[in-house]
Symmetry: none
Subunit: 194 residues, 4 copies
């Protein structure tokens, strides 16, 4: 049943399969064959569309980051006021789309990939910078000169929660993680501007 315009479909299927497979395996020791099988095609086709394993990984990473960014933007769109906007970012970070075990596993492994792949590192840095500037944008009116430090703390605590959630792997961590980080936000706000 060969049709035209399969490329985007196949690519999307592979990206999804990659994240699923990494989530299932727990590490990047995932074979192209298994990814392709999960996506319902031969490994040769996967290579045809992506060129190689690295690029499959990168595409999966880009996808994850894109989803994350969209989630944050959507949350920001519905939030009024600086504090509500910061809270929205935090909540979006732990939204169910991102905070699934398999996505967390993928995320963690992307950090590992970034140790080796310059492209992966660049992607991750872009994500961090964007998160940081988003946070600073709304923290500055509230905290003045303390905004930078507070943004770093909040962003870094989010990362820390991801790391720990990846380790524990029990469901329902979303609420806890959100509460924890929002408590930090409140703490920062209670200290006020400087």
């Amino acid at each position: 049943m060969p049709k035209l315009g399969m490329e985007p479909i196949r690519r999307a299927a592979l990206v999804k399969a990659t994240i699923d497979e990494i989530g299932a395996m727990g590490n990047l020791d995932v074979t192209v064959r298994d990814i392709a099988k999960r996506a319902g095609m031969s490994s040769a086709l996967a290579h045809h569309y992506f060129g190689g394993k690295d690029q499959i990984f990168l595409a999966a990473m880009r996808h994850t980051l894109t989803i994350f960014g969209a989630e944050v933007r959507a949350a920001l769109a519905g939030a009024k006021g600086h504090q509500a906007r910061v809270a929205a970012i935090v909540q979006a970070s732990f939204a169910s789309t991102n905070f699934q075990p398999k996505v967390i596993a993928a995320w963690l492994n992307f950090y590992v990939l970034a140790q080796t792949s310059a492209d992966a590192q660049r992607l991750l840095r872009i994500y961090q910078r964007r998160l940081h500037s988003n946070l600073v944008h709304d923290l500055r009116p509230l905290l003045g000169g303390r905004a930078q430090g507070a943004a770093t703390r909040i962003g870094s605590l989010i990362d820390g929660q991801y790391l720990r959630q990846g380790l524990l792997r029990d469901a329902g961590g979303t609420a806890d993680a959100t509460t924890l980080v929002l408590a930090l936000l409140e703490l920062e706000l209670s200290r006020g501007a400087e």
Copy 2:
């Protein structure tokens, strides 16, 4: 003349070589051969002493965690007062022994290993539990019911900083990381007990 007591020497050399090699490679895609070569022996001997690659990794992880624990204990021994003790834990976490790029890389990879290996997961949980209870022990007198949450935040922020430092890989992050977490401590203290 067969040398006596070579076993501990060989094992220690392999553990060190493992961490160095992971640090150099940036991931767990490290060959037993390369580890053994770095340790000055044949890969067959590495197998002889450890039984397999997994156990070599586990031993390296145990060693890293042991070092970390010792560092914390030493820091605690010289600290007077609850606040000083918490600060000591934070400082020890970022002490130069642990916060080298190669150790951070190893640490990050142990998190990945924990996704697969039950033993690795257990080790990592022990470390987290110990860190948490150490923090709570000294935070409770200061923060009362808020001690648990504060300890989780501090511990998790430490982890987050490791993750980010692993990404950035620039030297001299020790001071920044310490300052950042100590600022959180101060924030928690400023809110007082509940």
Copy 3:
């Protein structure tokens, strides 16, 4: 509107592309995809027209041999006298059309192909037999019984020069090669008939 009579055009384009590609790669490890791309079409179409890779090679070989034959015939048409005709054959052998690096590379690889493919072997033998009989035809009046040996020597020396030129790959070997073989011709003639 489907174009009519595309077949000969496509086939010619593929044959040319094959020789170019072999010349560019230096060996027969040439993919159908690359040949087709060079000829401006899909690899599926190449298969459609030729049936398979082997037949593409064979067609390229046939083409090369045809060109060579035409070159020789043209040279012979303009030569008067036995000696001049032999010289014409030699000169045609090293004419710029044949003696380009890419054609030499293809030629050499056809010899390799002949080790495997009976068809290729047959083609090459036809070429050799024709060259030999052309030479003998004009050498016999000059050398009598020595014509056979002389023809073999001259033909074989031409082949040897191709082989060596393929190795050296520097331009401008045409003159040298021609001179060398003509010197042999003169030598044979100086000995006279037997």
Copy 4:
């Protein structure tokens, strides 16, 4: 039955198997697996000892050239007088050790390899240069200024005979080839020095 000092034995076996396999297949499309199987070992071991397929080919080529060189030296040792020495070189070139179908096939393929591999090209040029200088050394006293051209003709005719013999693949070509080239030698000598 693992013993010590297997390396040279294994390498020799692989080199021999490579030539045999190329001879059997007729081209360089020979798998490491097949070479290794022919040499009685796993392909992994072949890689262990040689590092890669290219190096296996190169070693086989070096071996062939070494054999050839030894054959020539031996022949020269027993020859008295300039003409006899040149004849000895020619005879050695077609000695049964070199002029077997499988060796000729390998030889031809090395020429193809030289189109791609700089190392292979270097080896082949060394062989040609040595052959040429050997010929010139004994032709100069006989032919003076004509020695260079004569040496090129003789060397190139030897190559041409190899090429043709590779194509024909019938046994017993040794005598014919030798006779043919010696006839050229005689021709050159009959013309005398210049």
